[in-house]
Amino acid sequence: MSSRLSRFLVLALVAGLATAPAAPVSRFYAAVSMTKAQKNSPTPLDSGLYLRQADGQWANFGPRILGVTSLVASPVNPATLLLASSDGVVRTTDGGKTWRKTTGWEVADVRAIVFDHANPAHAYAATAWGPLRSTDGGASWQLAQQGLSRLYCQTIIADAASGGHVLLGTEDGVYVSRDGAVTWARTAFPAVSVLRLAESAADPKLLLAGTQGRGAWLSRDGGQSWTAADPGSATANLYAAAISPHAATQLAVGGWEIGVRVSADGGRTWADRTAGLPAKNVFVLAFDPDVKGRLWASTFEEGTYYSDDLGRTWHDGGLYGAYAFDLVFLPPAP
């Protein structure tokens, strides 16, 4: 999620969009399951994408599919979107008017999906059954398992500055590919389940990882080496990680019973910023590319909130009852 923010900002700057005087330009989506109201049922009340409207309300967008976890837009065609879901990858090429599932029965439980901005025809996905790669913009997919010790993965990022450089968060640490997910090699990361990877737009070598039970980890060399980042969350399950696209010094992590923790100095020091949130269970964090310094946080079923002062105060952002998997800012609709 953070990587998408970063890439979009870079693109926006390149295109001169950042100088446009208009209000927010991004399309802001939440990938959620409405689990709060799920009683005596194995399925949530609703599941899919919600699109934030100008008035701050959220409206359904796209197909209602169980287990929708993320969304990504083609770097060369904003009308082409790839949706990650339990049913597989679902693609639109007309901005959401029509959708097509582009995976077969073999693919399920897609947890994260990215385009390779340095090679826009390439896209990659992390699924609970192993990673996938596409070389035709998500129109078709191939299994991409070579070199992996275990297949489970739920987070993936692609280096915006280096085509084919992909990092995958697995149940056995972080794996790296230099050939567009054809082959993978283990990085010097602990043998722990990696729950979220984020990269910096301002400093492409800066990466942040949230893990299961081992807290946050930072890499300052594009994923070759990693160090534990925050003693205050060292044993936490961190589902959320984000780096501001405006300033590589601003980092945030969030997780179960740890709330939100932020760093304003590139990860040297961290502070608890949970006060003001209704719950300490945070699954997604996202810096807003349109409002400098705005941080979004989505709690487990207790709503989504934003802060304009790096978490010192929080404001209601809606989506009460949601179990959010991703908050996604995409370029404006064509």
Binding site: L66, D87, W99, K101, D109, W129, N237
Partner: protein, 632 residues
């Protein structure tokens, strides 16, 4: 499709079964057809032209198939189709049943509405094996209905041809894995109906004759799997998935309803799959009823199954099929005319609803009231299990499971697998060992004592004796416990869990559990038919005299000489031995008993009864009946 009928064998082996049931091919087929027709007739009768708020999908389908009450059926159908589509894969197969069975009776508006629904409603595929079989069998047939339809006609943007190809590819994969390595969601008294539904639809209405044949073969296959472990329709042996009501009242299961239609056991119970099967025209091969009823001699049924795919935390014992990880499940059932004692090896074999071992006995009580079962459980719940089998997150998975399986995270749960449980059975004797780490959420070993048990006695010898109908039971706990009412948290009694605890007062009350908190634990169970002893006292005396040594000081361990003289030795973490020989799990067969044989990886099942043979050969898509001379 190739059908080789070497001989009409059934007539050769016609004889009277128990309770005077005639077992010739002709009699079996006639009785089945009578039941099938009665299902359809009652379905038609259920639709009331004067009250179109009543009548289910299959009632409408029956009317349309038979050309009866057509106007009322179409009017009722219009109401059904006007309801907002919901339920994902569980929405699909009722629609397809209407489309297939009712095809000749549909009118243009209903056909148009079906097409509109398939274009606009996205039914998710779900995440279990039965979900996928239902989803793809339904999608295959729905797509078959619209040949040449392009992507714009379908919810998922794929053409009819693409949907059919994807569906068939998955179903062929499922057939191959199941007939080679065993079913993942194996032997479930509940989910048997889901597999029967999907396969019945394909068997009845797939236009491709070869594919229709494969579905028919697979129906025979799963019904054999049931027939060989049933006692009067009750599904015996270990189960992959069973709900609280079903584990206590084994007669309140879809498999019992199917047992009535397929083999004539018990009374008819309302059941949608029974209706679908009846409409599909499927007729089980008569050999299956002969097997289901033949309990003249006790036998051992061994089966190889597999766990549901383990997506993470798979463990070092896991192996790979394709690119999915699983571990083998070694099923063992001892089938007697009066009882079935069945087990698996223990461990985490399925998420949520596993029953590692159980005993059922023959009963004359009505199925709705019978609680003819005895079993033990280590009530376990953890994110480790949840994340092993589900794609959910560590900190939410248990919570989300309990949204629909309310008992999952309670200490008085009855269905459960446990990584701290190891079970070994030989004949009608069973040894269970437990090594529960400190800090485990529910550090208990629970033994369920049904209200149907009589003469329960705590003997000074340490054995606890009981009688279940015509069966004597001896249970020797290795650590002390206390008696508690079942459902001691009151969760189910107070309605949590929705349909799983409906009518709790009827099936859930009056039972009790023997609950032991010892972490290092175990027990022996010895079962015997009452007919084998002069009296209950004689049974107890015989059991008291059996050599038994056990230890729970370090690794739980027991050596037990059973009533038939077999010496079973089990040590936690080690391979058990029988009469000094290690159990050979490596060569465990896919199916093996006097009634059937299948080797691992074969994709073939040879079903046998006397000299009669039925070969289900998936490699050649052949169903071959034959009779071979009886061995001298």
């Amino acid at each position: 499709m190739v059908l080789v009928l070497m001989l009409s064998v059934g007539a050769l082996f016609a004889r009277e079964g128990e309770k005077g049931v005639l077992l010739s091919d002709a009699d079996i087929t006639r009785r089945f057809e009578e039941r099938r027709q009665s299902v359809i007739a009652s379905s038609i009768a259920a639709l009331d032209p004067a009250d179109l708020t009543k009548g289910g999908h299959y009632d409408v389908a029956a009317c349309l198939q038979r050309g009866e009450k057509r106007e009322a059926a179409l009017a009722r159908l219009a109401k059904i189709l006007a309801v907002k589509a919901d339920g994902n894969m569980f929405w699909m197969f009722p629609m397809v049943t209407l489309m297939m069975a009712g095809d000749q009776g549909l009118d243009d508006p209903s056909r148009a509405r079906f097409a509109e629904l398939w274009r606009t409603y996205w039914p998710s595929r779900g995440d279990t094996e039965n979900h996928w079989v239902l989803y793809y069998s339904s999608l295959y047939l729905a797509a078959q209905t619209y040949p040449g339809a392009g992507p714009e006609k379908w919810f998922n943007g794929k053409s009819s041809a693409e949907n059919m190809a994807e569906s068939r590819s998955y179903l062929e994969h499922w057939l191959e894995v199941t007939t080679s390595f065993g079913q993942g969601e194996y032997d479930s008294p509940n989910y048997l109906e889901e597999y029967a539904t999907g396969l019945a639809l394909l068997s009845g209405w797939a236009q491709d004759a070869a594919f229709r044949q494969r579905a028919h073969l697979m129906l025979d296959y799963i019904f054999y799997d049931y027939a060989v472990e049933t006692l009067d329709g009750y599904y015996g042996g270990a189960h992959s998935r069973v709900y609280p009501r079903q584990i206590i009242a084994p007669g309140l299961t879809p498999s019992m309803a199917l047992g009535w239609l397929l083999f004539g056991f018990g009374e008819r119970q309302p059941n949608g799959t029974v209706q679908i099967l009846a409409l599909s025209g499927y007729t089980p091969p008569p050999i299956l009823e002969r097997i289901a009823r033949d309990r003249a001699q006790p036998y051992v049924e061994r089966e190889l199954k597999r766990t549901r795919w383990r997506l993470r935390n798979a463990g070092p014992e896991s192996f790979v099929i394709g690119d999915k990880r699983t571990i083998p499940v070694y099923k063992y059932s001892y089938v007697d005319q009066d009882f079935i004692l069945g087990s698996t090896q223990g461990g985490l074999l399925q998420p949520i609803q596993q029953q590692t071992w159980n005993l059922i006995w023959r009963t004359d009580r009505p199925a709705a009231k019978a609680a003819n079962t005895f079993f033990g459980v280590q009530p376990y719940s953890s994110p480790l299990e949840g994340t092993m089998f589900f794609g959910a997150d560590w900190d939410t998975v248990t919570n989300l499971i309990a949204r629909s399986k309310a008992d999952y995270d309670t200490p008085d749960k009855l269905p459960s697998g446990s990584p701290f449980e190891q079970v070994y059975q030989h004949g009608p004797a069973l040894v269970a060992l437990y090594d529960i780490p400190p800090g485990t959420r529910f550090p208990l070993v629970t033994m369920f004592f049904s209200r149907d048990l009589t003469h329960t006695e705590e003997d000074a010898s340490g054995w606890i004796f009981a009688q279940g109908g015509p069966v004597y039971i001896a249970y020797r706990p290795f650590a002390a416990g206390e008696w508690k009412p079942n459902d001691w948290t009151g969760l189910l009694a107070h309605g949590a869990g929705g349909f799983i605890s409906t009518d709790f007062a009827k099936w859930g009350s009056g039972h009790r559990c023997y609950v032991s908190p010892a972490l290092k634990n175990g027990y022996v169970v010895q079962v015997a038919p009452a007919r084998a002893f002069a009296s209950y006292e004689a049974f107890k005396a015989a059991v008291r005299a059996l050599p038994l040594t056990f230890s729970t000081a370090t690794q739980p361990e027991a050596t037990f000489t059973s009533l038939d003289g077999t010496v079973i030795h089990a040590r936690y973490g080690a391979t058990p031995t029988v009469n000094g020989q290690p159990v050979d799990f490596a060569s465990w067969p896919l199916f093996e008993s006097p009634f059937g044989h299948a080797t691992r990886g074969s994709q073939q099942l040879e079903i046998a009864h006397g000299a009669e043979r039925l070969l289900l050969d998936f490699t050649h898509n052949v169903r071959q009946e034959s009779a071979v001379p009886a061995q001298p």
